[in-house]
């Protein structure tokens, strides 16, 4: 086993551990902390895929902003006096559905004959990436920023305290 594979398996184990922590933890705050672990481990996976820029964006956007928002949401929606069950009664069906999705995706990943080579990572230079993002994909990029503005303005309007409430 090469060093690269060892690193991959270590980071993949961290990712899966974080993911399992998110969905199985008995405490919502532990769930949020496991989510941070999973997101940072995914940033490591991006690095292994030689997508350094996306790894940095991942740490900034997910590791920073998204987890803080999630923890805020947890804090603001806490019901202190009546602890209720975290999992709904449809848990067995959820388990079945997840197992089905897992089986199908692994079979598809292993069984498909992919067009092109699947052995070697071709690092994409950051300069080419930026070129493509701001030339070929400039319009979708601007639309995405518009989506972000509209969504966040909508969030402010929704969450604001109104008079007479």
């Amino acid at each position: 086993m090469s060093v690269e594979e060892g690193v991959f398996y270590a980071i993949a184990a961290l990712t899966v551990m974080g993911g399992m922590g998110v969905v199985f933890a008995r405490n919502v705050v532990y769930s949020a902390l496991f989510l941070i672990l999973a997101l940072l481990a995914v940033a490591g996976i991006f690095l292994l895929l030689s997508a350094e820029f996306l790894a940095l964006v991942q740490v900034l956007v997910y590791g920073g902003a998204v987890t803080i928002l999630v923890i805020f949401a947890l804090m603001l929606t806490r019901v202190q006096d009546t602890p209720t069950a975290l999992d709904s009664p449809q848990k067995p069906f959820a388990f079945l559905a997840a197992a089905g999705v897992l089986a199908i995706s692994i079979l598809a990943a292993v069984g498909t004959t992919w067009p092109g080579q699947t052995e070697k990572i071709n690092a994409i230079p950051l300069r080419d990436f930026g070129d493509a993002l701001f030339r070929t994909w400039a319009l979708p990029f601007e639309v995405a920023s518009l989506v972000l503005v509209v969504a966040l303005v909508g969030a402010i309007v929704l969450a604001r305290e109104e008079d007479g409430e």
């Binding site: 997910y62 209720t84 975290l86 449809q90 993002l133």
Partner: protein, 102 residues
């Protein structure tokens, strides 16, 4: 080198954990966390396809940027909606918000 299938299997595991979380959890915030896991799995797939199969076009890399953008917008909106529901009904559990259920 690591074969691409390794990344695809990892992303499959992450996605099915997300599916389980979305279906089994009751709190809207915990469901959102599981959705984040699923989005991460999708991003891993996109980037893996871009760097292994189509390094000349690398559309998958571009798409991962949009996935991250839309996920950020979604988290902000969901936080606002959950706060609003919590203020009106004093709960954030999705199975207790059933006024419109037939």
């Amino acid at each position: 080198m690591i074969p691409m299938q390794h990344f695809l299997v990892l992303s499959g595991i992450l996605f099915s954990l997300g599916v389980y979380g979305v279906l089994a959890r009751r709190s809207a915030v915990l469901i959102l966390m599981a959705v984040e896991l699923m989005l991460q799995a999708v991003s891993i797939n996109f980037i893996a396809f871009a760097v292994y199969l189509a390094p000349d076009a690398f559309v998958g890399l571009i798409f991962a940027v949009f996935v991250i953008t839309v996920a950020a917008a979604e988290v902000g909106l969901l936080l606002a909606i959950v706060l609003r529901i919590f203020r009106n009904r004093a709960t954030a559990n999705v199975d207790e918000v059933d006024t419109m259920r037939w």
